[in-house]
């Protein structure tokens, strides 16, 4: 099918800038062939397997060279697994039994995967092995595995959705990204937002684009224009400040020392609304001591922008495992033992984290608020609140991510000092739609009326209960949506460092009464498209 110039392909925009480039289609990975017996001699199959292993080793070496530093060591270690003697001998014995090389290697890897399985220390290695197995089988079948992108030019990548491994290979030539599936909280969207690459996700119609087509990626207009140029890009609403400060504080989301420093140096963020602590632990193999944790926290607290710092206690689960917590594999990690639920088996760790934060708080003199993720009941909130208050002098709150606690916000009066809404997870649980499932991206759209009404109820509950309510999910990074949040009665927002300026701008362009008017128009919308259009229309008239 060919498109007419000016044809509009609708999706969900990510970012505020537009880009023009040539379409570069990334074909979905062709499925690997079924395992079969071979009609060739064992010697031929063994030789083919050796060649395939050598090819994969060469591609790993090339990736290692490009990555450099410690990543190069990772690729070297992978090569070691790939070329393991016993693995090869086992594959050879399957070839002797008549299996083709791809099947023989795949079966041999499965055997080792089973031997190593059931042990948290080796889960990552098992994934590595299976990935190597796929690469060897793909090489034997002549299927292209690696994403090879041009280094020069202006390309707009088009694909179903991109994995973290894919996005890591984006080159400078990638000026725009379009995904057929995936929503605004997909990995692709988050990466594009943080790297300021204009993107349109959930754009199914992009399937009709062809390599070399010129397109305009127009995230503000939630669309892609076939044959368009920059002059056709939808202008982001220009907000004209009527106040020096936004109607509600805009805080920054951080996870590392570098984030804290950036937020201070490059933005006018008022404090931190979400400090994700798990990043400090994902790479440690042993439990850090209270002293080590306190020292690390103190450095980050000291570097954070002025204002309160809201620290979320560890938010790990079996999909985001912390090596030393030995989390068993779960069928549904998003619905499993994660966040505050870890207290069942790891009370000591959570207590140590709170103790470390208290030491760092006293040492730096900063205003620290602590909150627990994945709270589903008032009892859990009470349990966390009692624990935290017994260990430190910080303000205590919880994350609102489960629909059950969203229904009970007013009952948290007297238990918490604040709540913070994680809209990414709240959407996932509210809509029963896996965040990672690219086919369900449109349900993760923060303009969904079901989410907006829920946020309104949460804000009412908190106002009635007399404690403050913030929003720290991706939704708050959308300047127009931030106005809606303020209008609904949310008291602060926390956004990624790159979005602080844009969100401050929209929230400084009107007063609270006007924000309420915008929110009221949005609340009656019956579809995400109508909700967004209602907000943008109202804001354009400012």
């Amino acid at each position: 099918m060919s498109l007419a110039a000016g044809a509009v392909l609708s999706g969900l925009g990510v970012g505020l800038n537009s880009a023009v480039g040539e379409v570069f289609f990334v074909k979905p990975q062709a499925p690997l062939p079924e395992w079969t017996k071979s009609s060739k001699s064992a010697a031929d199959e063994t030789a083919a397997l050796k060649t395939a292993i050598a090819n994969v080793a060469a591609s790993l070496a090339a990736l290692g060279e490009r990555a450099g530093g410690t990543s190069a060591e990772i690729f070297e270690a992978l090569t070691f697994l790939l070329e393991d003697d016993e693995l090869f001998e086992l594959a050879e014995s399957h070839i002797e039994d008549g299996w083709a090389a791809a099947a023989a290697y795949g079966k041999a890897v499965d055997t080792f995967a089973e031997l190593l399985g059931g042990d948290a220390d080796f889960d990552e290695r098992v994934k590595d092995l299976q990935d190597l197995s796929k690469r060897v089988q793909a090489d034997l079948a002549g299927i292209e595995m690696a994403l090879t992108l041009p280094e020069v030019g202006r390309i707009v990548l088009v694909g179903e959705d991109f994995s973290p491994a894919d996005t890591a290979q984006f080159t400078k030539a990638v000026v725009g990204v379009i995904t057929l599936k995936g929503g605004p909280t997909s990995h692709t969207a988050i990466i594009c937002r943080s790297r300021s690459i204009p993107a349109v996700v959930s754009c199914g119609a992009a399937a009709s684009l062809n390599n070399g087509d010129t397109v305009l990626v127009d995230p503000v207009g939630d669309r892609v224009l076939f044959g368009g140029d920059e002059s056709l890009a939808t202008k982001a609403i220009t907000y004209i400040a009527i106040n020096d400060e936004p109607i509600i504080p805009v805080r920054a989301n951080i996870g590392t020392l570098a984030d804290a420093e950036n937020a201070t140096a490059k933005t006018q963020a008022v404090g931190v609304g979400l400090f994700r602590t798990e990043l400090l632990y994902l790479n440690s193999k042993v439990v850090p001591t209270v002293e080590e944790q306190a020292a690390e926290y103190a450095t980050i607290l000291a570097a954070a922008p002025k204002g309160p710092i809201v620290v979320r206690t560890i938010d790990a689960g079996s999909d985001k495992p912390v090596p030393f917590l030995h989390m068993p594999h779960e069928e549904n990690p998003a619905l499993g033992v994660r966040g505050f639920r870890l207290i069942q088996d790891h009370r000591d760790f959570i207590e140590d984290q709170l103790k470390s934060l208290e030491i760092a708080r006293v040492k730096t003199g900063r205003e620290v608020w602590v909150m627990a993720p994945m709270i589903a009941t008032v009892q859990e909130a009470k349990q966390f609140s009692d624990l935290a208050r017994s260990l430190g002098g910080y303000k205590v709150g919880i994350m609102v991510e489960t629909p059950s606690i969203a229904a009970l916000i007013d009952q948290l009066a007297g238990i918490v000092d604040f709540v913070s809404v994680g809209t990414n997870d709240l959407s996932q649980y509210l809509f029963a739609a896996d965040r990672m499932n690219a086919n369900l991206g449109s349900l993760a759209n923060h303009w969904q009326p079901g989410l907006i009404r829920t946020l309104a109820r949460i804000a009412d509950g908190a106002n009635k209960g007399g404690f403050s309510v913030g929003v720290c999910g991706e939704s708050a990074s959308d300047p127009a949506f931030a106005v809606v949040l303020a209008g609904l009665g949310i008291n602060s927002v926390s956004v990624s460092v790159s979005q602080v300026g844009a969100v401050r701008a929209s929230l400084s362009a009107l007063d609270i009464a006007k924000a309420k008017e915008v929110a009221n128009k949005v609340l009656v919308a019956t579809s995400p498209e109508d909700a967004k259009a209602a907000a943008l229309d109202a804001l354009a008239q400012l």
């Binding site: 070691f80 697994l81 393991d84 003697d85 016993e86 190593l116 080796f122 290695r125 193999k285 042993v286």
Partner: protein, 89 residues
């Protein structure tokens, strides 16, 4: 050819994981000797395969026996000492 036995202890806090396993494998391959490792009284595995070593799922604090097939007693002792180094983590 004689077989020399040595005892080593895994001190690495996460046990015999990928890195020490590949260090041992590299050393053994370079030595071109037949080296086996296992828990005393259990089946031993060839140390030239990192995957076989990892499949033993050895945890920190475990004592292992390793056997080196060689006529050079000093060499066997040297290999055992280097492997013990790798297991310190």
């Amino acid at each position: 050819m004689s077989v020399f036995s040595h005892e080593v202890e895994v001190l690495d806090p996460i046990g015999l994981h990928a890195r020490p396993a590949s260090q041992i494998t590299k050393l053994v391959k370079e030595s071109e000797l037949n080296v086996e490792i296992g828990r005393p009284g259990e089946e031993f595995v060839k140390a030239k395969s990192a995957l076989m070593l990892m499949s033993l799922k050895i945890k920190t604090g475990e004592k292992l026996t390793l056997t080196v097939e060689t006529d050079d007693e000093a060499k066997a002792a040297d290999i055992a000492a280097q492997i013990q180094e790798f297991l310190k983590g």
